[in-house]
Amino acid sequence: MAALLRAMQENDIDRALTCSLKGVLYDFTEGNEETLATCAGDRRLVPVGTIDPRRALGCEEQVVRLAGRGCRAFRFFPNEQGWPFDFLPFLRVVARIEEADGVVFVPCKASGAATELLRLLGGRALAVVLCEVGYWNFAEVLACGREAPRFHLETHLLDTPEALEMAAEVYGEGRLLLGSNAPETTPGPAIAMVRASRLSEPGKAGVLGGNVARLLGMQNAAD
């Protein structure tokens, strides 16, 4: 936690969506409790729940439990846990998140992932945030964005010239969300890209916090 808070302070980040690594790599119930407890003690941290659908036992109940405690963001880690998106236990959890009016955050780093997510989740009435998109699969993600009005883009690997402007043409400025992957990676480059972009000033403010605040029903990051 100290490393995350230091990265936030060094980069003038007011609030961060935060998820326990314990929930990713060991046990999501323990990890989510750790996340909730940590975030409850620090207003800068916004809790993100995670669920490992391989377990089956207690997965859907965990969604209800977290939602009942004010957690609306759910992040999945199929690469670390070794399961595909086209995986019924995952899709059942997503259905519960949709019922709870939650938001799904998924990695979208590999070619083919966005197309698969479009097929599996594009028709659902829930917001899906595609994370870790880079230049190698940007074309695919742009194509998918035209067909999925509830898909959003996390920006920390959008590092090509005018990537944000191109993303905004398809997704709109309101569906771009700053990410950092801190404390593993440094937030500075992603923030610099937003600030140097030709997005509108309100658009930049949205990417830097307003959009995710609206999406999750948070108080504005500046409050």
Binding site: A7, Y135, F138, T160, P161, A163, E184, G188, P189, M193
Partner: protein, 245 residues
């Protein structure tokens, strides 16, 4: 401070990146505060060495802020030597570029050693794409074998950047630049600490990667004014014998 960017490209990409001519590159450099950019041809790296070098020469001619690397390829030693002789005496070309991954010949392969011998004879610095522990170890093997050849490790070894930075501190002819999409927390600060500020340069990988992005990574390092002057400008000016504004 106006930056010297030692890792840029001229050409097209198979990704959603708008094509830039030389003037377009200059506009991108202006936006990011880059005074001079050292370019290699994307075409020369991935497909046609000769045509790529030719197009690059045409693009940088008469534009002092754009300098060139001659791209060579260890699979074609004779033709590479011809390219070196054709361009290295031409105004605007300041170094040589190899990309062992695209060319399918690792840094210390017999083919590359033969090529390095030829590059070393010509007395110009080499920018070598270096990603991963194996590549770093091989590249330092080459550096020790040719101490007269100054080498800039493009991407600073990638995920093996700590190894590269430690090694660079003790190998006089090796320099690093750290452009990457994946920006490990503290990489530039720690890389400079390990290698020494006199061994690190600014490289952006434009216009594959936005210079704003990579500059954001370097700026996050919180380098001292003295270190910034070396990393952003002085080291490259000296190594590539550039004259600034």
């Amino acid at each position: 401070m106006r930056l010297i960017d030692v890792h840029g490209h001229y050409g097209k990409w198979p990704f959603p990146i708008r094509e830039r001519d030389a003037d377009g590159l200059l506009r991108l450099m202006d936006e990011a505060g880059i005074e001079v950019c050292l370019l290699s041809s994307a075409l020369a790296i991935v497909y046609d060495m000769r045509e790529g070098n030719r197009r690059l020469a045409e693009a940088i001619a008469g534009r002092a802020r754009l300098r060139g690397y001659v791209t060579v390829n260890a699979n074609y030693l004779g033709e590479s030597c011809e390219e070196l002789d054709r361009y290295l005496d031409m105004e605007g070309f300041v170094g040589v570029k190899i990309h062992p991954s695209y060319q399918g010949r690792s840094a210390a392969s017999a083919e590359n050693l033969g090529l390095m011998e030829q590059v070393a004879k010509r007395g110009r610095p080499l920018l070598i794409h270096t990603m991963g522990e194996g590549a770093v170890r091989e590249t330092f093997e080459v550096a020790r074998r040719f101490p007269e050849l100054s080498m800039v490790l493009g991407h600073g070894g990638g995920d093996a950047w700590e190894l590269a930075a430690r090694e660079a501190s003790g190998v006089g002819n090796v320099y690093l630049e750290f452009c990457a999409s994946h920006c490990e927390y503290g990489k530039v600060a720690e890389g400079v600490r390990l290698a020494g500020a006199e061994k690190v340069m600014f490289g952006s990988d434009l216009d594959l990667i936005s210079p704003h992005f990579v500059k954001g990574m370097y700026e996050a390092a919180g380098l001292s004014a003295e270190a910034r002057a070396l990393v952003y400008r002085a080291n490259a000016m000296r190594l590539f014998n550039l004259s600034g504004e």
